[in-house]
Protein backbone atom coordinates (compact mmCIF):
# COMPACT_ATOMS: atom_id res chain seq x y z
CA UNK A 1 0.00 0.00 0.00
CA UNK A 2 1.23 3.50 -0.79
CA UNK A 3 0.89 6.24 1.78
CA UNK A 4 1.20 9.99 1.53
CA UNK A 5 3.09 11.43 4.50
CA UNK A 6 2.68 15.12 5.04
CA UNK A 7 5.50 16.14 7.38
CA UNK A 8 5.52 19.70 8.68
CA UNK A 9 8.71 20.85 10.41
CA UNK A 10 8.69 24.12 12.35
CA UNK A 11 10.50 25.79 15.21
CA UNK A 12 9.85 24.82 18.82
CA UNK A 13 8.24 27.53 20.97
CA UNK A 14 10.80 29.89 22.46
CA UNK A 15 13.16 29.86 19.48
CA UNK A 16 13.17 33.06 17.49
CA UNK A 17 11.99 32.83 13.90
CA UNK A 18 13.79 35.57 11.92
CA UNK A 19 12.08 34.61 8.67
CA UNK A 20 8.64 34.75 10.32
CA UNK A 21 9.41 38.07 12.02
CA UNK A 22 10.55 39.67 8.76
CA UNK A 23 7.51 38.35 6.92
CA UNK A 24 5.08 39.57 9.58
CA UNK A 25 6.70 43.02 9.52
CA UNK A 26 6.13 43.30 5.81
CA UNK A 27 2.57 41.98 6.02
CA UNK A 28 1.87 44.73 8.56
CA UNK A 29 3.37 47.27 6.14
CA UNK A 30 0.93 45.94 3.54
CA UNK A 31 -1.93 46.81 5.88
CA UNK A 32 -2.76 43.47 7.52
CA UNK A 33 -3.28 43.29 11.29
CA UNK A 34 -0.80 40.46 11.68
CA UNK A 35 0.22 39.39 15.19
CA UNK A 36 2.80 36.80 14.29
CA UNK A 37 4.06 34.62 11.46
CA UNK A 38 5.70 31.26 12.06
CA UNK A 39 7.45 29.68 9.11
CA UNK A 40 7.53 25.92 8.68
CA UNK A 41 8.52 23.56 5.93
CA UNK A 42 6.31 20.80 4.52
CA UNK A 43 7.67 17.58 3.02
CA UNK A 44 5.24 15.46 1.01
CA UNK A 45 6.60 11.93 1.06
CA UNK A 46 5.05 9.05 -0.87
CA UNK A 47 6.01 5.80 0.82
CA UNK A 48 5.32 2.08 0.52
CA UNK A 49 4.27 0.54 3.87
CA UNK A 50 2.21 -2.42 5.05
CA UNK A 51 -0.02 -0.33 7.32
CA UNK A 52 -0.83 3.23 8.38
CA UNK A 53 0.97 2.59 11.67
CA UNK A 54 4.13 1.47 9.88
CA UNK A 55 3.98 4.55 7.66
CA UNK A 56 3.69 6.76 10.74
CA UNK A 57 6.61 5.01 12.46
CA UNK A 58 8.76 5.49 9.35
CA UNK A 59 7.82 9.18 9.19
CA UNK A 60 8.86 9.67 12.82
CA UNK A 61 12.18 7.99 12.07
CA UNK A 62 12.69 10.29 9.08
CA UNK A 63 12.12 13.32 11.27
CA UNK A 64 14.57 12.17 13.91
CA UNK A 65 17.23 11.10 11.41
CA UNK A 66 17.05 13.95 8.89
CA UNK A 67 14.09 16.26 8.56
CA UNK A 68 14.14 17.87 12.02
CA UNK A 69 16.89 18.93 14.40
CA UNK A 70 15.59 18.16 17.93
CA UNK A 71 17.47 21.17 19.31
CA UNK A 72 15.08 23.59 17.65
CA UNK A 73 12.45 21.78 15.57
CA UNK A 74 8.99 20.33 16.20
CA UNK A 75 7.17 18.25 13.65
CA UNK A 76 3.61 17.25 12.77
CA UNK A 77 2.90 14.16 10.66
CA UNK A 78 -0.30 13.47 8.73
CA UNK A 79 -0.66 10.06 7.07
CA UNK A 80 -3.10 9.47 4.22
CA UNK A 81 -3.56 6.62 1.80
CA UNK A 82 -2.15 7.59 -1.58
CA UNK A 83 -4.79 7.34 -4.31
Amino acid sequence: MKYHLKVEVGLKPGHSDPEGETTSRLLRELGYKVDRVNVSKVYNVILEASSRQEALTKAEEMCKRLLANPTKDNYIIIVEEEK
Binding site: P18, E19, E21, T22, K64, L66, N69, P70, T71, K72
Partner: protein
Protein backbone atom coordinates in the same frame (compact mmCIF):
# COMPACT_ATOMS: atom_id res chain seq x y z
CA UNK B 1 55.76 12.56 12.38
CA UNK B 2 57.68 14.82 10.01
CA UNK B 3 55.78 17.76 8.60
CA UNK B 4 56.25 16.62 4.99
CA UNK B 5 54.66 13.26 5.85
CA UNK B 6 51.43 14.77 7.17
CA UNK B 7 48.48 14.01 4.88
CA UNK B 8 45.33 16.09 5.16
CA UNK B 9 42.10 15.14 3.42
CA UNK B 10 39.84 18.03 2.43
CA UNK B 11 36.46 16.54 1.61
CA UNK B 12 34.07 18.01 -0.87
CA UNK B 13 30.65 17.36 -2.35
CA UNK B 14 28.44 19.35 -4.71
CA UNK B 15 28.18 22.88 -3.36
CA UNK B 16 31.50 22.93 -1.47
CA UNK B 17 33.38 26.09 -2.45
CA UNK B 18 36.23 26.68 0.02
CA UNK B 19 38.24 23.54 -0.69
CA UNK B 20 40.91 25.23 -2.84
CA UNK B 21 41.66 28.01 -0.32
CA UNK B 22 41.92 25.44 2.46
CA UNK B 23 44.30 23.32 0.39
CA UNK B 24 46.44 26.40 -0.41
CA UNK B 25 46.70 27.20 3.30
CA UNK B 26 47.96 23.71 4.18
CA UNK B 27 50.36 23.62 1.24
CA UNK B 28 51.83 26.97 2.28
CA UNK B 29 52.83 25.18 5.51
CA UNK B 30 54.46 22.31 3.59
CA UNK B 31 51.79 19.75 4.37
CA UNK B 32 50.29 17.37 1.79
CA UNK B 33 46.66 18.33 1.34
CA UNK B 34 44.36 16.49 -1.02
CA UNK B 35 40.87 17.62 -2.07
CA UNK B 36 38.68 14.56 -2.43
CA UNK B 37 35.05 14.14 -3.36
CA UNK B 38 33.29 11.90 -0.84
CA UNK B 39 32.41 9.43 -3.65
CA UNK B 40 36.13 9.10 -4.38
CA UNK B 41 36.77 8.15 -0.74
CA UNK B 42 33.93 5.62 -0.82
CA UNK B 43 35.17 4.00 -4.06
CA UNK B 44 38.95 4.12 -3.84
CA UNK B 45 40.26 5.38 -0.51
CA UNK B 46 39.86 5.22 3.23
CA UNK B 47 39.61 8.17 5.56
CA UNK B 48 42.15 6.32 7.66
CA UNK B 49 44.79 6.94 4.95
CA UNK B 50 44.89 10.51 6.29
CA UNK B 51 46.13 12.19 9.46
CA UNK B 52 43.54 14.97 9.54
CA UNK B 53 40.22 15.64 7.92
CA UNK B 54 38.62 18.94 6.91
CA UNK B 55 35.00 19.67 6.07
CA UNK B 56 35.40 23.01 4.26
CA UNK B 57 32.92 25.81 3.73
CA UNK B 58 30.30 26.11 1.04
CA UNK B 59 26.67 25.23 0.51
CA UNK B 60 26.70 21.45 0.36
CA UNK B 61 23.63 20.03 -1.37
CA UNK B 62 22.26 23.55 -1.73
CA UNK B 63 21.73 23.81 2.04
CA UNK B 64 18.52 21.82 1.49
CA UNK B 65 16.62 20.58 4.58
CA UNK B 66 19.06 22.48 6.88
CA UNK B 67 22.59 23.69 6.18
CA UNK B 68 24.93 20.71 6.52
CA UNK B 69 22.18 18.19 7.31
CA UNK B 70 22.28 16.19 4.08
CA UNK B 71 26.07 15.94 3.92
CA UNK B 72 26.16 14.91 7.59
CA UNK B 73 23.67 12.08 7.22
CA UNK B 74 25.15 11.00 3.89
CA UNK B 75 28.67 10.65 5.25
CA UNK B 76 27.36 8.74 8.27
CA UNK B 77 25.64 6.27 5.95
CA UNK B 78 28.59 5.90 3.57
CA UNK B 79 31.61 6.29 5.86
CA UNK B 80 30.20 6.16 9.40
CA UNK B 81 32.48 3.39 10.67
CA UNK B 82 35.63 5.02 9.29
CA UNK B 83 34.61 8.39 10.66
CA UNK B 84 33.99 6.91 14.12
CA UNK B 85 37.39 5.14 14.06
CA UNK B 86 39.02 8.39 12.92
CA UNK B 87 37.57 10.26 15.93
CA UNK B 88 38.32 7.47 18.39
CA UNK B 89 41.98 7.37 17.33
CA UNK B 90 42.26 11.07 18.14
CA UNK B 91 42.87 12.10 14.54
CA UNK B 92 41.79 15.72 14.15
CA UNK B 93 38.71 16.90 12.25
CA UNK B 94 38.18 20.56 11.37
CA UNK B 95 34.83 21.95 10.21
CA UNK B 96 34.77 25.45 8.74
CA UNK B 97 31.42 27.23 8.27
CA UNK B 98 29.34 24.66 6.35
CA UNK B 99 31.80 22.11 7.75
CA UNK B 100 30.87 23.19 11.30
CA UNK B 101 27.19 22.74 10.38
CA UNK B 102 28.01 19.23 9.13
CA UNK B 103 29.86 18.29 12.35
CA UNK B 104 26.92 19.48 14.50
CA UNK B 105 24.33 17.72 12.35
CA UNK B 106 26.41 14.52 12.37
CA UNK B 107 26.53 14.51 16.19
CA UNK B 108 30.34 14.97 16.24
CA UNK B 109 29.93 18.28 18.08
CA UNK B 110 29.46 19.00 20.92
CA UNK B 111 29.46 15.20 21.49
CA UNK B 112 29.17 15.53 25.28
CA UNK B 113 28.92 11.73 25.71
CA UNK B 114 30.70 10.69 22.51
CA UNK B 115 29.29 10.85 18.99
CA UNK B 116 25.57 11.56 19.35
CA UNK B 117 22.86 9.72 17.44
CA UNK B 118 20.88 12.93 16.95
CA UNK B 119 22.16 16.56 16.89
CA UNK B 120 22.73 18.10 20.34
CA UNK B 121 22.98 21.66 19.03
CA UNK B 122 21.94 23.60 15.94
CA UNK B 123 23.20 26.33 13.63
CA UNK B 124 19.97 28.14 12.89
CA UNK B 125 18.97 30.97 10.54
CA UNK B 126 20.86 34.17 11.35
CA UNK B 127 19.17 36.76 13.50
CA UNK B 128 18.86 39.35 11.96
CA UNK B 129 18.06 37.20 8.95
CA UNK B 130 20.03 37.04 5.75
CA UNK B 131 23.41 36.16 4.39
CA UNK B 132 26.07 37.94 6.38
CA UNK B 133 29.52 38.44 4.89
CA UNK B 134 31.85 40.61 6.98
CA UNK B 135 35.08 40.66 8.97
CA UNK B 136 34.47 40.08 12.67
CA UNK B 137 36.51 39.78 15.86
CA UNK B 138 36.60 36.60 17.93
CA UNK B 139 38.09 36.01 21.36
CA UNK B 140 39.95 32.83 22.21
CA UNK B 141 38.32 31.18 25.24
CA UNK B 142 39.98 27.79 25.34
CA UNK B 143 42.36 26.75 28.12
CA UNK B 144 44.35 24.25 26.07
CA UNK B 145 41.97 21.36 25.29
CA UNK B 146 41.37 22.33 21.66
CA UNK B 147 44.35 21.12 19.64
CA UNK B 148 43.53 23.61 16.87
CA UNK B 149 44.17 26.69 19.00
CA UNK B 150 47.08 25.74 21.26
CA UNK B 151 49.33 28.32 19.62
CA UNK B 152 46.84 31.07 20.49
CA UNK B 153 47.02 32.58 23.99
CA UNK B 154 43.74 32.53 25.94
CA UNK B 155 42.01 35.91 25.65
CA UNK B 156 43.68 36.83 22.35
CA UNK B 157 41.40 38.59 19.85
CA UNK B 158 41.55 37.38 16.24
CA UNK B 159 40.22 38.98 13.06
CA UNK B 160 38.49 36.76 10.48
CA UNK B 161 35.66 36.88 7.94
CA UNK B 162 32.29 35.16 8.24
CA UNK B 163 30.04 34.41 5.28
CA UNK B 164 26.86 32.49 6.08
CA UNK B 165 23.13 32.70 6.60
CA UNK B 166 22.75 29.82 9.09
CA UNK B 167 25.29 30.39 11.83
CA UNK B 168 23.23 31.06 14.97
CA UNK B 169 24.55 28.51 17.44
CA UNK B 170 21.77 27.12 19.63
CA UNK B 171 21.55 24.62 22.44
CA UNK B 172 18.21 22.96 23.33
CA UNK B 173 16.18 25.55 25.31
CA UNK B 174 15.27 23.07 28.04
CA UNK B 175 18.92 22.41 28.89
CA UNK B 176 20.59 25.55 27.56
CA UNK B 177 22.29 26.60 30.81
CA UNK B 178 23.25 23.05 31.75
CA UNK B 179 24.85 22.40 28.35
CA UNK B 180 26.61 25.77 28.43
CA UNK B 181 28.06 24.83 31.82
CA UNK B 182 29.23 21.54 30.30
CA UNK B 183 30.98 23.41 27.48
CA UNK B 184 32.90 25.39 30.11
CA UNK B 185 33.58 22.41 32.41
CA UNK B 186 34.94 20.31 29.53
CA UNK B 187 36.88 23.25 28.06
CA UNK B 188 34.91 22.88 24.81
CA UNK B 189 34.20 26.57 24.25
CA UNK B 190 36.81 27.87 21.80
CA UNK B 191 35.83 31.31 20.44
CA UNK B 192 33.21 34.00 21.21
CA UNK B 193 32.27 37.06 19.14
CA UNK B 194 33.71 40.29 20.54
CA UNK B 195 34.75 43.86 19.71
CA UNK B 196 38.24 44.71 18.47
CA UNK B 197 39.27 45.36 22.08
CA UNK B 198 37.88 42.06 23.36
CA UNK B 199 34.51 43.01 24.89
CA UNK B 200 31.95 40.28 24.34
CA UNK B 201 29.26 41.11 21.77
CA UNK B 202 26.44 40.31 24.22
CA UNK B 203 24.28 39.37 21.24
CA UNK B 204 24.59 42.79 19.60
CA UNK B 205 24.60 42.91 15.81
CA UNK B 206 26.89 43.18 13.86
CA UNK B 207 29.57 42.35 16.48
CA UNK B 208 27.74 39.05 16.86
CA UNK B 209 26.78 38.63 13.18
CA UNK B 210 24.16 35.91 13.55
CA UNK B 211 22.56 36.08 17.02
CA UNK B 212 24.49 33.06 18.35
CA UNK B 213 23.65 32.02 21.90
CA UNK B 214 26.31 33.29 24.34
CA UNK B 215 28.18 34.81 21.34
CA UNK B 216 29.47 31.34 20.52
CA UNK B 217 31.64 31.19 17.40
CA UNK B 218 33.15 27.72 17.64
CA UNK B 219 33.38 24.68 19.90
CA UNK B 220 35.39 21.47 20.13
CA UNK B 221 34.54 17.99 21.37
CA UNK B 222 35.51 16.99 24.96
CA UNK B 223 38.79 15.49 23.64
CA UNK B 224 39.67 18.69 21.77
CA UNK B 225 40.31 16.87 18.49
CA UNK B 226 37.13 17.79 16.61
CA UNK B 227 36.64 21.52 16.12
CA UNK B 228 34.10 23.60 14.23
CA UNK B 229 33.79 27.34 13.74
CA UNK B 230 31.73 29.68 11.55
CA UNK B 231 34.50 32.12 10.42
CA UNK B 232 36.95 31.21 7.69
CA UNK B 233 40.57 30.88 8.88
CA UNK B 234 41.62 29.95 5.33
CA UNK B 235 40.43 33.37 4.15
CA UNK B 236 42.53 35.07 6.83
CA UNK B 237 45.76 33.18 6.19
CA UNK B 238 47.93 35.44 4.02
CA UNK B 239 48.56 39.10 4.83
CA UNK B 240 47.13 40.18 1.50
CA UNK B 241 43.76 38.58 2.31
CA UNK B 242 43.12 41.14 5.02
CA UNK B 243 40.53 43.81 4.18
CA UNK B 244 42.69 46.86 4.86
CA UNK B 245 46.00 45.70 3.41
CA UNK B 246 46.19 48.45 0.80
CA UNK B 247 45.82 51.21 3.37
CA UNK B 248 48.28 49.91 5.95
CA UNK B 249 51.91 50.93 6.07
CA UNK B 250 52.96 47.85 8.00
CA UNK B 251 51.09 44.60 7.66
CA UNK B 252 51.80 41.47 9.69
CA UNK B 253 53.37 38.58 7.78
CA UNK B 254 50.21 36.52 7.99
CA UNK B 255 46.53 36.66 8.90
CA UNK B 256 45.18 35.32 12.19
CA UNK B 257 43.70 32.20 10.59
CA UNK B 258 47.20 30.83 10.06
CA UNK B 259 47.48 30.13 13.79
CA UNK B 260 44.72 27.52 13.57
CA UNK B 261 46.48 25.61 10.78
CA UNK B 262 49.83 25.87 12.57
CA UNK B 263 48.35 24.56 15.83
CA UNK B 264 46.92 21.53 14.03
CA UNK B 265 50.23 20.77 12.30
CA UNK B 266 52.15 21.20 15.54
CA UNK B 267 49.82 18.69 17.24
CA UNK B 268 50.30 16.13 14.43
CA UNK B 269 54.09 16.55 14.44
CA UNK B 270 54.27 15.87 18.17
CA UNK B 271 51.51 13.29 18.64
CA UNK B 272 52.06 10.83 15.78
Amino acid sequence: MKREEIRVCILRVGGTNCDAETQTAFEALNVQAEVLHVNEVVKRRSLLDYDALVFPGGFSFGDYVRAGAIWAKWILVKLGKELKAFVEEGRPILGICNGFQVLVEAGLLPAFEGIAQYPEAALATNHPPGYNCRWIYIKHENSGKCIFTRKIPKGKVLHMPVAHSEGRFLLPKEKEQRDLAKLYENDQLVFRYCTSDGKYADGKFPINPNGSFHDIVGICNPEGTVFGLMPHPERAFFWWQQPDWTSQMLMPHHGDGKLIFESLIDYLEKKF
